[in-house]
Assembly symmetry: C2
Homo-oligomer: 262 residues x 2
Amino acid sequence: MLQSIGLTQPIPIRRAPSRENRFPRLVAASRPTAACASCCLQAVCLPCGLGSTDLDRFDEIATQRRKVARGASLYRGGDAFDTLYAVRSGAFKSIGVSRHGDQKITGFYYPGEILGLDAISSGRHGYNAVALEDSEVCVIPFAQLERMALTVPALQHQLFKVLSGDISRDQGLMLLLGSMTAEQRLAAFLLSLSRRYQRLGFAASSFVLRMTREEIGNYLGLTLETVSRLLSRFRRQGLIATRQREIDLKDVAGLMEMVGHW
Amino acid sequence: MLQSIGLTQPIPIRRAPSRENRFPRLVAASRPTAACASCCLQAVCLPCGLGSTDLDRFDEIATQRRKVARGASLYRGGDAFDTLYAVRSGAFKSIGVSRHGDQKITGFYYPGEILGLDAISSGRHGYNAVALEDSEVCVIPFAQLERMALTVPALQHQLFKVLSGDISRDQGLMLLLGSMTAEQRLAAFLLSLSRRYQRLGFAASSFVLRMTREEIGNYLGLTLETVSRLLSRFRRQGLIATRQREIDLKDVAGLMEMVGHW
DNA sequence: CGCAATGTTGATAACAATCAAGCTCGGTGG
DNA sequence: CCACCGAGCTTGATTGTTATCAACATTGCG
């Protein structure tokens, strides 16, 4: 069955009652401090290389959580950079906005993934981070994190790995944008989502899109019409099944063949 | 006047006598250990945040240099990752190769820039690094670098900044590939080269391309014909002047206008 | 029930790719 | 020294993929 994914607690996935700044009651209650030690994302999140004593020290840094309602911004381009954020539940998009108001999505972020890494170098955020659904993040003050990294080799190493991993991911996307057809891009996108859901312990071949066709198209450098047409074509070809935003990958091998072994 | 750039020593820029594995005599002599303290790239290279005592310690790590002839690989995709490389002179391209033999250039690297950052996360290089001309790099063993970063806060911070800067740069390129016309991409490319040359202390509006039209096109997700046509158009429009690979930016404002304020 | 947001599908147009021919500049060999 | 050769570049003609414009369907919500 198609299932709800990307959630670490039972926030309803169907569209929130209105566009912005409203949380369903069940998550409105105040919330204890984050505790990585008991977090189900332990295996995939930033502190995943740490032993239990180091993990406790890390917990002293990342004490705070923050909720972000669907459509609201976690930070905006131009904001001063102080902290990294680890997605705890929900999903985010990172968007650049040009002076002319054109928007371009540079990434989607799922639980266990880190937001704000690109801002370290300049000390200022270059993009807006917007929640695709009611979401929650762990707040990780960067100065403290850096200080701790000096005394915990495993943490320093993990940080290097996370930063480096982001570079790899972006380069993969550049490859996609720079040398793949629309068809290949969408296939690659679906496969990438599949892999990420699997990493989180969810079914790899059956998931619900957190974003609209328009957002997918924007991210992939395509129009929403092209995305819609391609999804229809994939359906006709028996590669996938869809029902609104629910996606079933019926022929993963076929999709991979389509991407062409990059 | 158009001038030679990207070189920290007088290697002739005109095409080397043959395709590969041949160095002009003047750089064939064996070379003393690298010394950041006396390197003219100090201000822009990896150790740029360090004080003089820390710089001396850094010099003990990065003792080795390596020459790479035009067309030769510094490393290849699949190679184990041990070391980072700082470009000392010359220029490199980073290319991904698909199983079908298709190549895609993911980046160009100029003096002071660091090669290999994307390999930290997996411990294995994902791309080939190929010299665009006879070049030299400083070898920076990563394990030692990490160890030193634990005791030198400024170095750790600088490493975070360099990694983060690469993420920003890649995201900028994604924006370019995903939402700009051919014209905008090429204009953005020329402006980006201009900025990099300027950073190195060279003229910002007058430089020699280190890469072919084909390589530019590959990098920008265009064909070489499109690149050539656009350069001709820019010339007709009075935006640039060209003579082979020499480029003069005649109207930087016009080029920026074209890119459209991303 | 109707509205607004999202998604599907069709017709047409534009941009860039492809195919093709020729040019320029260096290097090489007769 | 000159002629040839090839890599790299330019330009033209044509094709094809994807964007754009447009109409309509579906869903959820007030």
